[in-house]
Symmetry: none
Subunit: 139 residues, 4 copies
DNA sequence: GTGGTCTAGACCACC
DNA sequence: GTGGTCTAGACCACG
C-alpha cells in the first residue's frame, strides 16, 4: 500500500494505520467493495507486528469501515466513504481546535497564528514527497 | 494561581502543569526571580497529588526554567524567559506543522483549511473563560 | 544484571542506577542497540521499587542514552557510547577537582595528597570484589 | 572572616561553615582560646540566615571544637586543634577513597587517574585566589 | 509482557 | 515551612 508509519511519533501505530486507511477511503484511493491488504501482507510492508495491523483492522470494523468476508479478507464497506469523509472533517476540526486553544493560552494573537499556519502550509505544500511524509504527531 | 488542568485530556498532568508554567513565564505573568507556588500548595489548588506537581517542577528544573533554593522554594531562573519564549514559538510551529501535514494528507485545500482555523479561532477567542478552558488533547 | 546499589550511601538510588548504566555503556558492557533489563525485572534484582528504576531510566532517556520501544523495552541509543564516555571523563574530572580544592584548602601539599590517592588505589584495586563495592558517599 | 560558601554546591551551608572552621583550626589560622565571630556577625558576612550559622556552631560544639562562654561568645577549645587535624586526615582519606572507588568502577586505570589528579592539582595550585575558591561539592 | 502515569503516604535534610 | 526521595499499589496504552 501507499502509506507510512512512524513508530516514534507518539501516536499508536495501529492508530496511524487506521487513520491512513480512512483517509485513503475519504480520498477515494480506496473504494467501497475493494479488499484491503491482508494483515500479514501489510504487516510485512510496514515492518510492523501483525498484531498491530490486526488491531487497526479491528478498530476499522468497529467503525463499520471494513467488513469481514469469511475466508476472503476485509472489504471496504458501502457506508465507509460517507463515514470517512465525515470523520475527516470532524477529526480535523477537533485537531484544529486543540491547537487553537493552545495558541490562545500561550498568548498568540490571531494574525501571528494565521501567519504561522500559512507559512507552514506553503513550505509543506510544495514538497513533492508530501504523500510520503510521516506524520510526526506529538506525545 | 491562574491555571487549570484537565485530568482527562490525554496529556499527562505533570506536562500540563509544566507547560502552563512556561506559558506564564513567556507571557510575563511569572517573572525571573519570583518563587513559584510550593509543591504542596499547588497540589492542593489543582486537586492533584504533590508528586505530580513535583514531577512537573523537576522537569522544569531540567529545562533550567526553575532553580531550587534549599528550604525556600523554587525560583524562576534568569534564562527562563528567553527559553520559554523560544519554546513557545518552536512548539507552536511544530504543532501547526503536524496538523498541516495531516490536512494535506487527507486532501484539504488551503482555503478550506484556513477557513477551519479561522472559524475555530473566532468561536474560541470570544469565550471569556478562555483561560479556564481545558486543553482537550488527542482524538 | 551486574551492578549493586547501596541504599545508605547518601546518593539517590535512581542516581546510582543511572550512573552504573552509563558506566556499563562506557565500558562496552552494554552496547548500542541492546535492550536494558525491564523496569520490573531490574527492580526485583536490586530489591528496589519499580518506580525508582523507572526514574533512573527516565533520566537516561532525557540524556538520550536510552530510547523507548513501545511495548518492547528500552534500548541503548546509538549516541549513548560517545555520550557516556564523555560523561565518564567529565564527571571524573569534576569530582577530582572538588577533592583537590578541598585538599588545597585544608593545607595538603602535593606529595602528601598524591600519596593518599595512591595508597587508596592500592588497597582498593586488589580487592577482587571491587565491582561489588558499594560507593560510600558523603561523610 | 576569610571563607566562602556556595549555596548551590549541594553541600548544606551549615556544613560548609563548620568544615571551614575546622580547616582554619587545623591550619592554625584559628587558635585555641580565640573567639569565633558571633552568629549574627558571621551571618551578615556570609549573607546567610543566622539560623544556619547557629546550626554550624552547634555542630562544632557537639564535636567539642567550640565551647560557649556565657555572655561572651564561642571559643576554640583546647582539644580542637588535635581533633581538627585528625578530622582533616580522616575526611580526606574518606573522600579520596570514594572518588577512587568511582574511578575503579568506571574503568579507569591507575595512571590515567593519577594523571587526572596531577593535572587538576597543577591547574588549581597556581591560581592565586585559591583560598577564595568556593568548594563545588556535588550531591 | 512492556513502559508511563498517578495516587497515597512516609521520611529526610534544609532553612 | 521548603523540596527530594522512596515505597506501595493501581490503572492505562502498547505490541
Amino acid at each position: 500500500m501507499f502509506f507510512q508509519i512512524d513508530p516514534d511519533s507518539g501516536v499508536a501505530i495501529y492508530d496511524q494505520i487506521a487513520r491512513q486507511v480512512k483517509y485513503a477511503i475519504a480520498k477515494n484511493t480506496l473504494r467501497a467493495g475493494e479488499l484491503v491488504p491482508s494483515v500479514r501482507e501489510l504487516a510485512v510492508k510496514l515492518a510492523v507486528n501483525p498484531n498491530t495491523v490486526a488491531r487497526a483492522y479491528r478498530d476499522l470494523q468497529n467503525d463499520k469501515v471494513l467488513e469481514a468476508l469469511r475466508g476472503e479478507g476485509l472489504r471496504v464497506s458501502q457506508e465507509a466513504a460517507a463515514h470517512c469523509r465525515l470523520a475527516r472533517q470532524t477529526n480535523m476540526e477537533a485537531r484544529v481546535q486543540r491547537v487553537v486553544i493552545e495558541a490562545l493560552q500561550s498568548g498568540f494573537v490571531k494574525d501571528e497564528f494565521i501567519g504561522l499556519v500559512e507559512s507552514a502550509w506553503q513550505s509543506l505544500a510544495r514538497s513533492k514527497t508530501i504523500e510520503k511524509q510521516s506524520i510526526p504527531e506529538t506525545p
